[in-house]
């Protein structure tokens, strides 16, 4: 077997190995670059706002809170920092969840938003807003978060139950997720129809998705979830790469696909349910983030998963900045911004890729 495929140049092992190592180095560099961009974006997010504080003053305040006035301390520690960090964590969680969903369901349209997790969370939150319970140890706002989390988890448990059913293929899972979106949306609409004007306003605001619900407690919980989930995601990455090349191939090469899918859905549940419960419905990050990351680092999940988390974090951080700049003096809910900014960027990227191929 000495001849070569037409149109290609001969290649030896050393050159191929060198080329592969260069490819890995380039991907590592891209992941680092995304990290650097994220830091820059977070700083810009911190610096943007109506108070007129400069970046230097802000950073000094972060490292030495005593140098600030009481008002400035509140602005930095209770508003700017929690908002900016929540954008990073929520973006990372939703995008990582989206990347895993797309890999295990072999569907480029899979994301927490498109498969009903966000809609289920919105239903839970809407129920808690419309019919708050009298619980002494849990305030109504806490009830909304808890209800959103429980409903998001339930939606993913249903997806998991579907995945465990014998004969339920990937298509069934995706169709079931889409059916869930419509069912939950219909029920949310019904609640809105029955609600008083005051409650209706709260219902609509929750479904918009806003970083204004950020606080340090929520940040700590979401950071902990990400810290726990990410190592497991990275451990499953080689098997997920193989799964992208076909379920039969992966199974025949020793991957326990049912177990892989089930464990992944569990991770997605934790990530998506926590993020959505804390900030509401934020669409497109979980869908667009993984696609953008794929364009940068390819399909090797060892790089794609961390890159997706970073791209998602960067997207939401940039959206957070844009949310303060679109209407002067008004912070537009970030869920609206992600849709407005993310979708055209995504479409542009798809068309660019289409031309290249």
């Amino acid at each position: 077997m000495n001849s070569h495929v037409q149109g290609a140049t001969p290649l030896d092992l050393e050159r191929a190995a060198l080329g592969y190592r260069r490819l890995l180095a380039r991907r590592c560099a891209l992941v680092v670059m995304l990290g650097v961009l994220l830091v820059v974006s977070v700083l810009a997010d911190l610096a943007s706002g109506a108070s007129g504080m400069g970046l230097g003053q802000l950073l000094a305040g972060v490292f030495d809170p005593d140098s600030l006035s009481a008002t400035e301390r509140v602005i930095i520690w209770n508003v700017r920092l929690p908002y900016a960090l929540m954008a990073v964590l929520v973006g990372a969680a939703l995008s990582l969840a989206g990347a895993e969903m797309q890999a295990i369901l072999d569907n480029p349209l899979a994301s927490p938003f498109t498969l009903g997790v966000s809609s289920a969370a919105a239903l839970g939150a809407s129920l808690a807003i419309a019919y708050p319970l009298t619980i002494s140890w849990l305030a109504p706002s806490g009830q909304v978060t808890v209800a959103a989390f429980i409903f998001a988890c339930c939606s993913l448990l249903l997806l998991q139950a579907m995945a465990r059913l014998r004969g339920a293929g990937v298509e069934s899972l995706v169709l079931f997720g889409i059916a869930l979106v419509f069912s939950c949306n219909a029920l949310v609409s019904l609640l809105q129809l029955l609600a008083t004007e005051d409650v209706l306003q709260q219902l609509v605001f929750w479904t918009l998705g806003s970083l204004a619900r950020a606080n340090w407690e929520k940040l700590a919980i979401l950071a902990a979830v990400l810290a726990v989930v990410l190592p497991f995601s990275l451990r499953a990455a080689p098997s997920m790469t193989l799964l992208r090349m076909g379920e039969d191939r992966a199974r025949s090469f020793g991957v326990d696909v049912r177990r892989l899918r089930y464990a992944s859905l569990l991770r997605i549940s934790l990530l998506a349910a926590t993020a959505v419960a804390f900030v509401g419905t934020i669409g497109f990050v979980g869908l667009v983030g993984p696609h953008m990351a794929r364009l940068l680092v390819g399909e090797d999940q060892r790089f794609l998963l961390p890159a997706s988390a970073l791209v998602g974090a960067l997207l939401l951080s940039l959206s957070s900045i844009a949310s303060k700049l679109i209407l002067p003096g008004v912070i537009v809910p970030v869920g609206i911004v992600t849709a407005l900014v993310g979708v055209p960027v995504f479409v542009a990227l798809i068309f660019r890729r289409g031309r290249r191929l």
Binding site: M1, A8, A16, S239, T241, G246, R249, R251, S252, G254
Partner: protein
């Protein structure tokens, strides 16, 4: 390390696809072609052997009961090549073969992956993206992934379906070389009866989920078999170089088949 296939039964729901199929022990170093008409159960049998379909019966390799092994242990012994590598995967050729290997130190794995590409003559594609390849080239990469894993038994589902004449022969030649060189075994589902006759050591002919015939091509390929199994009037001749050739004259009418 012979492969023993005994009393295999596979059903999709209530529909029985493979009926109590027993094959003679398949020796190492041999390339076996599974042939038969559409719906005969060839691919189902291959998938069942690969552990992708639930089956009843006995399956052992060198005395080891394959049905008792966990997926990882079984995958070291048997590997299955589906008909196609799906499109739309953003991976390079070499890295897709590396992904198939999953374990081992980097230089050994790189060597194994590159050698697998070289064995079927596609090492020059190593740095190209899978998405830039034709269907036939992707099929070759798919085969390279299997070869790189060095399983004892290669299960190939129509490995030449997307290939041109040149690569059909080359792929079957290199599979035969590989199994002889490393004392492996290959079972390939083939639709082209002439390619099967030219490249396989043994033919296993399936018809309606049952074993119709088995043996060396020159012993079992007859006009009668071709009429019974494929419903064609055909001649089996040898060309000037001694190769077996099936020459199909016409399809039999339903009345003639009955």
């Amino acid at each position: 390390m012979n492969l023993k296939v005994d009393g295999i039964q596979v059903a999709y729901g209530r529909r029985q696809i493979i009926h109590d199929l027993t094959l003679p022990e398949l020796p190492t170093g041999s390339l076996v072609a599974l042939v038969g008409p559409n719906g005969a159960g060839k691919s189902t049998l291959l998938r069942a052997l690969a552990g992708l379909e639930r089956m009843r019966g006995q399956l052992s390799l060198g005395g080891r009961d394959l049905l008792q092994l966990n997926p990882t242990e079984r995958a070291r012994l048997l590997a299955y090549m589906p008909q196609q590598l799906p499109p739309g995967i953003a991976l390079g050729v070499l890295e897709s073969v590396l992904a198939a290997l999953r374990v081992g130190n980097e230089s050994d794995v790189l060597r194994a992956a590159f050698e697998a590409l070289a064995r079927i003559g596609i090492e020059s594609l190593a740095e190209q993206s899978l998405d830039s390849l034709s269907g036939g080239q992707r099929q070759l990469v798919s085969l390279a992934q299997l070869i790189a894993r060095k399983p004892q038994v290669l299960l190939l589902d129509e490995p030449t379906s997307a290939l041109d004449l040149h690569y059909q022969l080359r792929v079957m030649d290199s599979v035969r070389e590989l199994v002889r060189e490393h004392q492996l075994m290959a079972l390939a589902v083939l639709h082209d009866i002439n390619l099967a006759a030219a490249s396989a050591d043994f033919l296993v002919v399936l018809h309606n989920g049952r074993l119709y015939a088995r043996g060396a091509p020159q012993d079992i390929l007859t006009p009668r078999l071709l009429a019974d199994v494929y419903g064609v009037e055909a001649r089996v001749e040898r060309c000037s170089r001694g190769r077996l050739q099936v020459l199909v004259d016409r399809a039999l009418t339903p009345a003639e088949r009955a």
